[in-house]
Symmetry: C2
Subunit: 379 residues, 2 copies
């Protein structure tokens, strides 16, 4: 089998970045990873946009920790659905995130201290602008595809709107044209958990040498519930009690961990609080809330997508109750009304929103066929 040709780089952007909020970021770094090789025509590049807690590290073992496998490794690599023998795949850590790109933990050159609460609010549209500048640096005039799941799908969609000539295919998975009131409500609970943690210190906890750990744990716990389907949770945990082997299966009548699902959630929260930054959590959930391309067109998604030139692949999962199939169908309907080219698949999968990260065979066959066809058409 051929190699992944993983390369990791930090790229500095010196030119100030005007943001949607009106703020201007003086300069910033983006960490990227690339897989495969850019062809001489620079026409085989695929940009992978990440969701809330992921990063530039999309595929293969991390250069600095071979145990740390990329978050979409089942999708991207030699011989995988997005075949790095054909495509040059780019993962980029979003501005404001906490895995090396400039974000709230970074030093603010104006003060010599971490940005903390002073880091500006970032939108999906802002991210796309930084990614376009990245493409400029890499000499990529037009992406073969921009692709993402969930929040990553929003970035792909925004690409097709902001830079219609620079994206050939737009792959939007388990996403939505805008959050519902319920989606925003869950984000608000998560943010409030962080904001009300006494260790948050108004976002400047770095100076206090603490992190708002309880808040971050709670945020992750509530988030995690929305990523799994009800059925999947029932299947995985049911009402099983968390018990060491040989111990009585009677109720313990306490508020400590009693059920497996409680143990699982606490563990997920704990793990997350050790690697994720609370300010980044606020920023990214807010970017989710604000995304609504139809907003400037009196709510018309069709008009928002009027200038689109990309061909779309839209994928949803039947048990995803965070961004259910009907949200994807709104995108498809708007594109069809514009006579844009769009393929749509609704995958019958049990794993809820998280399905976009898993290797369901029907889902992977579909992505493989789509990219194979793209590759064939270009030869």
């Amino acid at each position: 089998m051929s190699e992944l040709h993983l390369s990791r780089n930090t790229i500095h952007f010196a030119e100030p970045l005007p943001l949607q909020s009106g703020a201007i970021l003086a300069g910033y770094d983006l960490v990227i990873e690339t897989y495969g090789r850019l062809n001489p025509e620079k026409s085989n590049a695929v940009l992978i946009c990440h969701a809330l807690n992921a990063s530039h590290h999309v595929a293969g073992p991390s250069p600095d920790d071979p145990e740390d496998i990329g978050w979409w490794d089942n999708m991207i690599g030699p011989g995988k659905p997005i075949d790095t023998d054909h495509f040059f795949v780019i993962g980029v850590n979003n501005l404001g995130s906490c895995f090396g790109s400039t974000g709230p933990m970074s030093l603010n050159s104006a003060t010599g201290k971490p940005y903390g609460a002073d880091f500006p609010v970032i939108t999906v549209e802002d991210w796309v602008n930084t990614q376009a500048r990245l493409a400029d640096k890499l000499g990529i005039r037009k992406f073969a595809a921009v692709m993402g799941g969930s929040l990553g799908g929003m970035q792909a969609m925004a690409w097709s709107i902001q830079f219609p000539k620079r994206i050939e295919h737009c792959v939007v998975i388990a996403s939505t044209p805008k959050l519902s009131a319920q989606n925003i409500a869950f984000n608000e609970v998560a943010r409030n958990a962080i904001l009300s943690d006494p260790d948050f210190h108004g976002g400047n906890y770095y100076a206090h040498n603490v992190i708002p750990k309880s808040g971050l744990k709670l945020a992750r716990m509530v988030g995690h519930i929305t990523y799994l389907s009800d059925d999947d949770m029932a299947e995985k945990f049911g009402r099983e009690l968390q018990r060491p082997v040989g111990e009585s299966n009677d109720y313990r009548f306490s508020f400590d961990v009693e059920f497996e699902v409680e143990s699982y959630l606490r563990h997920q929260g704990e793990k997350f609080s050790k690697y994720f930054d609370a300010n980044t959590y606020l920023l990214i959930t807010r970017a989710l809330d604000y995304f609504d391309p139809a907003r400037r067109y009196e709510g018309s998604l069709q008009r928002a997508l009027a200038e689109v030139q990309a061909k779309f692949l839209v994928v949803s999962f039947t048990t995803d109750w965070r961004f259910p199939p009907n949200r994807s169908r709104e995108i498809v309907a708007a594109l069809l009304s514009n006579k844009s080219e769009v393929s749509y698949a609704e995958i019958d999968a049990p794993h809820g929103h998280d399905a976009f990260l898993l290797d369901d065979p029907r889902y992977h066959h579909l992505i493989r066929a789509y990219f194979d066809q793209m590759h064939e058409a270009r030869r």
Copy 2:
């Protein structure tokens, strides 16, 4: 129109109460309200069981605050679906709650201090035992009906199992024979919010003159999301921004309240934290988690309900995603397998779990018809 004949009483029970956990409660008070008049045969009594945050104050204006209208006032009163001209309705504040019955805030006579963390864990079955003792005190051998929504419905179900001869009709609304993993997960997030609040002090916050307010607010916010349907939230709030009249409708790019739904949730959390006790929240959510009558019958609900003599009315609401219709159908199926008498209605209502508290005409007609028929049959 005739009068409600509201009467409120605190009843002391001196006899120690053995609990399902093995603990024994030395003695306790229950606050009750009654409406209508008990007939000479004492055969027209209806017990109303409350859910998480409600109380004995079911109908009419509160004796000490005329603005405070009972939580099921649209259902119970003269000429209402449960007509207090025919039925003698009893509301009881559950043991462990915080509206006058003995609970964590009460003085523990053994220590002279509030129980706090020492208050024993209570189960649905324990509540039913206290309610049976209450019936004994009132001279009620058999209830015409025991009725409740959500957790109240679990109590009604438990009545039919624990005291099959003492309940003629069992009315179970928007309920479930046991929580799902997802239900437990949401309770666990809410409990963790309270447990991790520094003002919780291991449950003994009364001594510190504080309450775990942030935790209680978060608990309520996450709970509240599960009470409303996705559509209902979309209808009520959509993506409306929270703006004073005349102010710009542009995004503010901050983590403060931005959307209406955020303002609503924060307000609900704030309100709740002012009247509800955090230890009671822990207790009642744990009672929900533990309820599972089929557990001692290797998971067979049919066997758990084998001794039932009551006639059942089971009601669910189409958009209730907390306890969806399929959970009610499990109860109905088990009863039918036992050849018990059961009526089932699935009400097409938009308001999610909260629908059981609202006055949807089809729902109220159904309850009215059921109780009218009950009344006619007894004349």
